[in-house]
Symmetry: C2
Subunit: 156 residues, 2 copies
């Protein structure tokens, strides 16, 4: 939001600039018909650097650019994009689900006052060794969220 901490990383998925035709192709590859709604949402999601969005944020954004889409379609699309590997769903607190346009494994700061998410730059987080999974289980993914709050009196 206000913090310069996360200069949008260059996209690792070959969708830079994301001209509409590339997006349509990408949708087709995922066996998703490039409908007006999906293209509009894809454009909003992937058109400008990585983002963390909620269904509601995307709904409002679509409306504000005159491509209104129903909530049902927002949810359908977010889940289809997630299944296709374009997005990653992030479980934070509360009922609200976040979707991250960077599907690669990485960690987040959660600003407690606003509920905003911030990528933690890979170089800011020393690698750590995940523990062995319990007997009979295997690790699917590691979710690290560091909850931060405004420091009192500007220190820290």
């Amino acid at each position: 939001m206000l913090l310069p901490l996360t200069k949008p990383a260059p996209r690792a998925d070959g969708m830079e600039g994301c001209p509409v035709h590339a997006l349509r192709k990408r949708l087709r590859t995922a066996r998703l018909r490039p409908t007006r709604q999906r293209v509009a949402l894809g454009w909003l999601l992937f058109g400008k650097g990585h983002r963390h969005v909620t269904a509601e944020m995307l709904f409002d954004e679509a409306k504000s650019v005159r491509s209104p889409v129903s909530m049902a379609t927002i949810y359908n699309t977010l889940h289809q994009f997630t299944r296709a590997g374009f997005l990653r769903e992030i479980a934070v607190e509360g009922a609200k689900a976040y979707f991250d346009t960077n599907p690669l494994p990485h960690s987040h700061f959660l600003i407690e006052e606003t509920g905003a998410l911030l990528d933690i730059p890979a170089n800011a987080l020393p690698a750590f060794h995940a523990p062995k999974a319990p007997e009979g289980y295997e690790i699917d993914r590691v979710e690290l969220v560091i909850r931060v709050r405004r420091a009192r009196r500007g220190r820290q």
Copy 2:
């Protein structure tokens, strides 16, 4: 649940055995009147090793031991206990909130198939250095959840 991975750690909060009078005292210290409902829920929560419960689990348990408590009271009590430092709320996926009777910082395995939480034994997780918080912010807490799933064909 079935896994021997987490032998309930000895309680660090002086509530071993948790005789009712100690619980009542503890509630009073937190400026919570030791009502029938709060004592019953405290007994269920703290009476036997550490646990990860949802509001619904606690509701059902209270009913099953013939101390039925309304959902509103379950939620009130869980939040009051959390504010008092007896519990820690854990944000996992989905709308459902978990409350951990171990309020000290520690991490969890999430069994994806069942949604069950498992403490990660401190010695199984090498310490790692948290990154510096963004400018103007300070770290409140670190939440690490390692999502695991059944390994295919018994291997790991």
